[in-house]
Amino acid sequence: MKDNVSIIGSAHTNVKHDSAIKHVTGRADYTDDIAQPEGTLHAYLGVSDVAHAKLLDIDFSDVLATPGVVGVLTADDVPGVNDISPTHLNDEPVFPTDAIQFHGQPLFAVVAETRDIARRAAELAKIEYETLPHALDPIAAQEAGYPHVTAPLKLERGDVAPAQETAPNRIKGRMSVGGQDHMYLEGHIAFAIPGEDDDVVVHCSTQHPSEAQHMVAHVLGVPSNAVVVNVRRMGGGFGGKESQMNLFCAVAAMAAKKWNRAVKIRPDRDQDMTATGKRHDFVIDYDVAFDDDGRIQAVEGSFAARCGFSADLSGPVTDRALFHADNAYFYPNVRLNSRPMKTNTVSNTAFRGFGGPQGVIAAERMIEEIAYATGQDPLDVRKVNFYGTEDRNITPYHQEVEDSILDRLIGELEETSEYRKRRQDIIEFNKTSPILKKGIALTPVKFGISFTATWYNQAGALVHVYNDGSIHLNHGGTEMGQGLNTKVAQVVAEAFQVDFSRIKITKTTTEKVPNTSATAASSGTDLNGMAALNAVEQIKARLVKFAAETWNVAPEEVAFHANQVHIGQEVLPFDTFIKQAYLARVQLSAAGFYKTPKIHWDRAKGQGRPFYYYSYGASCSEVTIDTLTGEYRIERTDLLHDVGRSLNPVLDKGQVEGAFIQGMGWLTTEELWWDDAGRLRTHAPSTYKIPLASDRPRIFNVNLADWSENRELTIKRSKAVGEPPFMLGISVFEALSMAVASVAEYRECPRLDAPATPERVLMAVSRLQETL
């Protein structure tokens, strides 16, 4: 019998990722590693090589004549509805019937005995089409009179026009912010196994198994109960597998049912990057009015996004850009409009931050403009504009900011990073260094937590206690590396007061928890941790009742503690107690449920409380640029980030570090480049450059604000962590901007567009030098 005084692996401890051993030994199974049944077929997509055209005909004779090819799937083979639009706008066919809408659009699938045969045969189709003029970016789309792909949003508060007229200063500008490919190391993949009747089981790598299930059912024309979607783990998601897996699941399932054989589909990296959506790039027009101290009087902003040919998640993404266009700053008078533009490009989708980063960077650009215009340290401009606690605390969407900890957070980072001293040193350095120039910036993040689609803020879990005392945990969230399963298991371990090792974490499956939400919006732990806790509490309530009745004690005298159950004076090992409960016919299984309280949102009015709470963070980065080539190096970064009371500090820190580097990549070397024909030319890691180990800041200090505790009743008072630290990367961008500005004595905002590639840095330096 164990006599531990406490359990191993409770909440708030540094439990290792539950799959760590499997990761390092190569024994962690991803979808492509699952053993294939006899006769498994492979599908491969055939895609368009034109950006916009009328599709006339596809001749498959050479494809079908290829040995090993079993057949092709086109729009004609869709048994149900030819649509996989996640927002049910009916604007995203599995395969198009008459219109090609972007270069690289999937038009059909070839199914063959091997993947190699299918892939080669897909090249042999002869596609006949009539080209149409195309518009690739949001500005070209506006000029061409393209429609919005989904209804735009307006947020408005106060009275903008008079404030603009009376303000002493006013700056208008435009900023282009690039998109980003997810570049998850494991690409898209779906593997469908047909069953009896209408049944099909799909193993895949999706963040949203329920949606994939519903989409497969929709496309097959069968009820959802015929489709099971399983996800053991993903090799990264970052939002790229929220809705984008629907296509692959639908194709694999259609083929599996058509030929009654298992079918796997896995695009190569290039097809993955060209045929699936990315982070939206934006063109932002801003107009900021401010007083001589740099205090903002009014803000007007227009956020035009490259949404691609269909809506996908562009509505909520562009909404979230507006929700974060204030970042941490109070705008007394404000009007913000989104322009979700249809373009002849792949339909853009969710990506960590979900539009939020594009809003935040616009706010930071306006701060930068004010700082250069008034000759102040940008940090001082930030501080005078921070949300207040008593007043000046209403957002453009009329939610009150109740939980700001930015004054303390920024104050601490300002101290520990020695921001002020280093800034002064840098200004001195720049005076005497003609070629190398340095810059430093300290930037805040405030990020709203909750799905703005309010109904998504629900979750389920299923917990079984077997009669040997072992525990089986299942919940609706998916594991993509973030450690969700580990954290939820910690919650369960603590609630049952048993060691973490007693809990078996199992694959996510639509068979166990129905109607789940995407593991997205940083909400995985908040929602699923609560649902699992709810399940545990139900079981515990039954166990307490059983113990109180059987041992004839008051319920308060029953306590779970350190792998034991204390009942009055009796102490039983957990498994002995469970065995007795089983014999007494106590139900040892429960389905848990949770829905986030307090939130509501009226999109038509642009008012409500879309967010349960905010997460905060701050980042200070120092860079050096080479004014001959535009190359740069990140010298040092200090991060201080708020995750409330961390459920697992080491996993949370991993999220913060990883998000920062990813955010830095978005703003530095990750550039999506389309040619005039609409073909994405940066479509694999050879051409699309995410950060490497050597791109890390030379000095990297990362801390969690360990004093923070969520004011709301979240799971163990923790806060969401997935997305908010992504925006910490903005400090790198702003530091680069300062280094560039130094060549013209900091008189002018360099107006760098993102990403700030070496080329953009050099061209900005060159532009500013010409003003001298």
């Binding site: 051993i21 590693d33 494991e186 090799g235 070629i435 590396g481 535009g630 480049w673």
Partner: protein, 487 residues
């Protein structure tokens, strides 16, 4: 002697014979599909992400050496006679974790885990070579491994800590070294290997002379050395490369040595093979060499291949041209030598006959008054293809410039000398004015393309600025820091 028709190697300690290996069969597909060794992952199929990293041990002149390579673009035929080690082979028979695995776990080095086996293999190779690496050495070793989750910090911490969990001396690959050496030596049967189907032959010549003979027989064959370019012809462009003649095992093509006032680089020497000698005699190439691709690709790719494929954006031609390098080509028993600059005729067109192969490169060593520099500009510092690459050479005698040889990659359809800029320098004084004149003249030499790597304007401006950087670096009258430190 009849040809052998199967590929023979050792896989994770076990002898393997594979018949009918076609030219384009990759090692990765063999491991995953035929052996179900699924720990090795496909992330990009172009040698850029490292998720497929395995070790390949080959018996060379210096004995048995294991290097990390990309299994995705490595052809199966090319591991004939080698020991291939995958992640599945790291844990002991008792399931005990390897020191690298322990370090990764203890430092929380995995999140989604998909890239992890590749990182483990690269770090394994690093630890065997450098048990106590610096952070910079770790970063250099990991240039070919992408992680999208962690931001790398915990992986670096793990990498510098591996030796706390074990020493290389007691590692399986070292304790079994003698036995494995004997086993691999036994696989060297001196026979030509011809495997695969008629339209997709893999040919492994028994010697350099046999290579020359094979090319006479199959003049249209694809010569595959490191496969870091040819691999992509298959994985990305689905091209048929058969018949393919593999040369990676030919030790006589890998000579790297100083011969009097020349450095001789065998065409089959990998970037890694020649790094030490180049760094010793041409120190300006040392850090430049570290920026060629990632470690895995440097272990596979060859200087000869980088030249022979004729790419306008290869890293080595501009710097070798500036040094005045020559190359020797061989056809049957005939050889000819020509200046490297003359080898590049036009885009995709080199001065090489179909049955001819690049045999060696000769690099003259600089004299006492020679100034040399090698510069590379890319969107991402490491493991990126250059937007602009430059080799700059000048002799400065008594303040006067002569022998200016300035070659650029990324500025034209071939690696190309800047004739006008050179003319603007030769006979002129070593001065800022002369350099400015050369910078202006560059606009006559080149009208670069705009593409996804860089715009035409950026290429021109940064190329001009590289001349200015060259001046600032070498001018004894100034001590302005002009280059970002490497680490």
């Amino acid at each position: 002697m009849t040809h052998r028709t199967d590929i023979q190697f050792v896989l994770n300690g076990k002898d393997v014979s594979v018949p009918n290996v076609s030219a384009d069969q990759t090692l990765l597909d063999f491991l995953r599909l035929e052996r179900r060794l699924t720990g090795t992952k496909e992330g990009c199929a172009e040698g850029d992400c490292g998720a497929c990293t395995v070790l390949v041990g080959r018996l060379g002149r210096k004995g048995l050496a294991y290097v990390p390579v990309n299994a995705c673009i490595r052809f199966l035929a090319s591991v004939d006679g080698c020991h291939v080690v995958t992640v599945e082979h790291l844990s002991g028979p008792d399931g005990r974790l390897h020191p690298v695995q322990q370090a990764m776990i203890e430092h929380h080095g995995s999140q989604c885990g998909f890239c992890t086996p590749g990182f483990v293999m690269a770090l394994y190779a690093l630890w065997m070579q450098t048990p106590e690496p610096t952070e910079t050495q770790v970063e250099t070793a990991l240039q070919g491994n992408l992680c999208r989750c962690t931001g790398y910090e915990p992986i670096i911490r793990a990498a510098v800590a591996v030796s706390r969990y074990g020493t290389p001396a007691s590692d399986y690959l070292n304790t079994e070294r003698e036995t494995m050496t004997t086993r691999l030596a036994a696989l060297k049967d001196g026979r030509r290997v011809v495997s695969g189907t008629e339209d997709n032959l893999s040919i492994i010549p028994s010697s350099v002379d046999d290579l020359a003979e094979c090319l006479q027989t199959y003049p249209n064959a694809t010569i595959v050395a490191g496969a870091t370019d040819v691999g992509l012809w298959v994985t990305k462009f689905l091209r048929n490369i058969g018949p393919a003649i593999f040369t990676g095992h030919l030790e006589d093509l890998k000579t790297v040595e100083r011969q009097g006032s020349l450095l001789l680089i065998g065409a089959g020497a990998s970037y890694t093979d020649c790094q030490e000698l180049l760094s010793e005699h041409l120190p300006h190439l040392s850090s430049y060499w570290d920026r060629i691709a990632g470690w895995q690709v440097r272990n596979m790719g060859t200087v000869g291949g980088n030249i022979a494929n004729g790419s306008p954006i290869g890293d080595t031609p501009p710097v070798l041209i500036a040094l005045g390098a020559e190359i020797t080509l061989r056809r049957g028993s005939e050889s000819r030598t020509l200046p490297l600059a003359d080898f590049f005729i036009d885009y995709g067109k080199q001065d090489r006959q179909p049955d001819e192969f690049v045999a060696s490169i000769h690099v003259p060593l600089p004299g006492p008054n020679d100034l040399n520099a090698a510069y590379k500009i890319s969107k991402r510092r490491d493991e990126d293809i250059s937007s602009v690459a430059a080799g700059i050479h000048m002799t400065v005698t008594d303040g006067t410039i002569s022998n200016a040889r300035i070659a650029f990659g990324g500025m034209a359809a071939t690696p190309k000398r800047a004739a006008a800029a050179e003319a603007a320098l030769n006979g002129r004084p070593w001065s800022r004015e002369s350099i400015e004149a050369a910078a202006v003249a560059l606009a006559q030499d080149f009208s670069p393309l705009t593409d996804w790597r860089a715009s035409s304007d950026y290429r021109m401006l940064s190329a001009q600025n590289l001349l200015r950087r060259f001046f600032l670096e070498n001018d004894t009258k100034t001590d302005t820091p002009v280059q970002l430190a490497c680490a």
